[in-house]
């Protein structure tokens, strides 16, 4: 058996979505901007996909949902164009975000800092979320934009988007949320929150990779990032990616229809896995209150077991999971979320993220419980953290010599 538990990284494309996309490669392939029948033949399907997107997130007809190449593009677009509109061509000079945003937000903010923008990276509490009052405290008269994710990719923790939206509305500050980990996982209704911009990604909810979208409240001003043939009403140029738009629309519909039921089904499996691991293993803990998490996510810390070593053993057992910690990534940094929530430094390299999907089965959960436990057992048997014989006098490590 092989089990994929890395659905916060990407998901399997729902076979129904693949099937819906296929006609738009070699049968209905015209450019939707063309006047002839080859071009217009795709219009009904695109219209349907647009309607599916508006319904999936409860957008108003006065709002825009612009398809992009990915959520990274959507995040870059908002940050860079707000910089152009409100900072370069306006009186503002400040952006508020958090220290645990996706790299597409953090790296863009670093770039804007190089361009002279002031950026505040808000800290998270021990639950891994930014509290609304913290956001309020850091908004100034010069703040152009608040950019805060709806749910975190590492922990699954859900941020108080409604309260933050109200604060931004009251302060007259634009509010962008990276909704990549929320849309399709938890109910997202734009009528119930005050959000100016929201980024989305199809491949996080069983759609194809290479397509995302940006929600823009009331079709408000946002200078385009891609200039060209004025597709998407002039907001985002580039020939429409018809099959992928069709795929994203259907994927959004399939993920959000009866979402409460789907969430419950995933949550039951997630909780069973989490309870089993917490119950059978000593010295483990999970990050964040599970009632305020996306129902598919577990970030578990296993004392004495380095994250990449654990991934190695899980991979040998044909289980795909992930870690943002230590050796797994090129930069060899500790898990930034683990550090941000104030976990002991010793545990910052021990986080393993397990993320389920609606396709995860009970048999797969049983298998993972069994193999996870045996991997922890093996690695703890090797681990210096569980060694019994103590160092010779003078032989202990006094300070960290590496990975500053």
């Amino acid at each position: 058996m092989q089990v994929y538990l890395d659905n916060n990284a990407t998901t399997m494309v729902d076979p129904a979505v693949t099937e819906a996309m296929i006609p738009f490669f070699s049968e209905i392939y015209g450019n939707p901007n063309s006047l002839h029948r080859f071009g217009t033949a795709s219009h009904p399907a695109i219209t349907k996909a647009i309607n599916q997107m508006y319904k999936a997130i409860g957008a108003n007809d006065k709002d825009d949902i612009v398809f992009t190449s990915c959520a990274t593009e959507a995040n870059n677009w908002v940050l860079q164009s707000v910089w152009i509109d409100k900072i370069l061509h306006g009186e503002k000079n400040h952006i508020v975000t958090t220290e645990i945003e996706h790299p597409s937000v953090l790296s863009t903010c670093k770039f804007l800092e190089d361009m002279g923008v002031k950026v505040t990276y808000l800290p998270v509490n021990d639950q891994g979320i930014v509290e609304a009052h913290t956001v309020r405290a850091f908004i100034t008269e010069k703040t152009a934009l608040v950019s805060i994710m709806w749910a975190n990719n590492e922990t699954g923790m859900i941020f108080p988007i409604q309260e933050i939206g109200e604060i931004c509305k009251e302060k007259g500050v634009l509010f962008h949320t990276d909704g990549v980990q929320a849309v399709g996982k938890i109910p997202v209704n734009m009528q119930e929150v005050h959000v100016d911009f929201m980024s989305m990604s199809a491949h996080k909810f069983h759609g194809p990779k290479g397509i995302g979208a940006l929600y823009i409240k009331n079709s408000q001003k946002l200078t385009p990032m891609l200039h060209g043939g004025d597709q998407m009403g002039g907001r985002r140029s580039g020939t429409l990616n018809v099959p992928y738009i069709v795929g994203m629309g259907l994927a959004a519909q399939l993920a959000t229809t009866n979402i409460e039921e789907k969430m419950e089904s995933i949550r039951v499996k997630r909780d069973r896995l989490e309870d089993a691991l917490l119950g059978s293993l000593s010295d483990v803990f999970t990050v964040g209150d599970r009632n305020n998490r996306t129902p598919n996510t577990i970030l578990i810390s296993i004392r004495g077991v380095e994250g990449e070593g654990m991934l190695w053993d899980l991979n040998n057992a044909l289980i795909g999971a992930s870690t943002g910690s230590a050796c797994a990534s090129e930069d060899l940094e500790a898990n930034s979320v683990m550090l941000a929530i104030g976990a002991d430094n010793e545990l910052a390299h021990t986080g393993i993220r397990l993320s389920l999907s609606r396709f995860t089965t009970d048999e797969e959960i049983d298998y993972v419980i069994e193999r996870f436990e045996s991997a922890v057992k093996r690695l703890r048997a090797i681990s210096s953290s569980y060694a019994i014989v103590q160092p010779t006098a003078g032989g202990a490590t006094l300070a960290c010599h590496i990975h500053h």
């Binding site: 004495g304 077991v305 380095e306 994250g307 990449e308 070593g309 190695w312 991979n315 040998n316 910690s325 230590a326 050796c327 797994a328 090129e330 930069d331 060899l332 500790a334 002991d344 430094n345 010793e346 545990l347 910052a348 390299h349 021990t350 048997a381 090797i382 681990s383 210096s384 953290s385 569980y386 060694a387 019994i388 014989v389 103590q390 160092p391 010779t392 006098a393 003078g394 032989g395 202990a396 490590t397 300070a399 960290c400 010599h401 590496i402 990975h403 500053h404």
Partner: protein, 324 residues
């Protein structure tokens, strides 16, 4: 950045089979107890390096026969990724059977080379080299504990690149001898900076005490100063061709003062030196006539030959005098 970098290679696929095998089934994993050592009349040494908060930690155990300082058994425990476990295992393996004094000479390069499947292919990708460096450090610590000396005493040189074990002295020498001008050249000549890249400049995986960029800049500056000093010394000894530009101009002026200028002034003229240009075959001296000399028919014939002949005789045969 080029074609091969577009899709970053899979980290784990770059591990040698030996690394993979030892990660899955480490041979020397385990502990040695005081009781075992006591029973055999041996000494137990246990040393830690790294910490969980660093992301890597290793504990090394030695059972040493005090009669001949030989490590009769060695084991390890490790909190770390696959390469850390495999490197620790190989380190323990390499220690067994050696004397403590021999073991101190084991470097991370020895560990990494022993983990290779074939001698030409690295056992781990560059960013994993630091795992084997820990093995080197923990051995030093264990040896220090056994011999009752400071572990730093085993290190007679300052190591700039831990991965390739290149010392500050070696780097300075190689830069000077080969007239190296770039970091890429240094890496080509010494392998320093070719692995985890931390030692190239600040901001890498680890903070370092010395960085290649600073060493290169320092050595180049010293080389420039030395070159100038050499020229100045040569000039003082009267060797015109190796003089600095300023020395050359002074020498030329002095030679003209001594034998030519007085005659020019008598005729209501003069000459000034505009520039001196060196080439392998000639030293070209550019002059300008002043006063009555300017436009005088002899200025491009007899007077010019006289000036050139005087300078050739007094300073160098390579001299050509060019009026402008």
């Amino acid at each position: 950045m080029a074609k091969n970098d577009l899709l970053g290679g899979s980290l784990w696929d770059q591990y040698s089979n030996k690394v993979t095998t030892l990660m899955n089934n480490p041979i020397n994993q385990g502990e040695i107890t005081q009781e075992e050592c006591d029973a055999a009349g041996h000494k137990l040494i246990v040393a830690d390096f790294g910490a969980e908060s660093c992301g890597d930690a290793v504990r090394l155990y030695w059972e040493v026969d005090p009669a001949n300082d030989t490590i009769v058994n060695s084991k390890f425990k490790s909190f770390g990724c696959g390469t850390a476990i495999a490197s620790s295992d190989m380190m323990a393996e390499l220690c067994i059977g050696k004397t403590v004094q021999q073991a101190v000479k084991i470097t991370n390069i020895d560990v990494e080379m022993s983990l290779r499947d074939d001698p030409e292919t690295p056992a781990v990708p560059p960013q994993k080299m630091h795992c084997s460096v820990m093995a080197y450090d923990v051995i030093k610590k264990a040896a220090g504990l056994y011999l009752g000396v400071d572990e730093a005493s085993f290190e007679d040189e300052i190591i700039v690149c831990e991965c390739a074990r290149v010392s500050l002295g070696t780097l300075r020498e190689v830069i000077k001898l080969n007239d190296l001008k770039s970091i890429e050249q240094i890496t080509d000549y010494t392998k320093a900076g070719g692995f985890c890249k931390s030692c190239i400049k600040p901001g890498g995986h680890e903070a370092r005490e010395y960085y290649l960029v600073d060493i290169l800049a320092d050595v180049r500056r010293e080389m420039d100063v030395e070159k100038m000093q050499a020229s100045a010394d040569a000039g003082l000894q009267g060797d015109f061709e190796t003089m600095t530009l300023v020395q050359k101009i002074k020498a030329i002026d002095a030679a003209i003062d001594e034998s030519v200028r007085q005659f020019l002034i008598m005729d209501g003229g003069n000459v000034e030196i505009i520039d001196v240009k060196d080439s392998p075959d000639y030293i070209d001296i550019y002059i300008r006539y002043l006063g009555a000399c300017n436009g005088c028919a002899s200025s491009s014939t007899g007077t010019l030959y006289a000036i050139e002949a005087t300078l050739k005789e007094k300073l160098s045969n390579k001299i050509r005098v060019l009026p402008i």
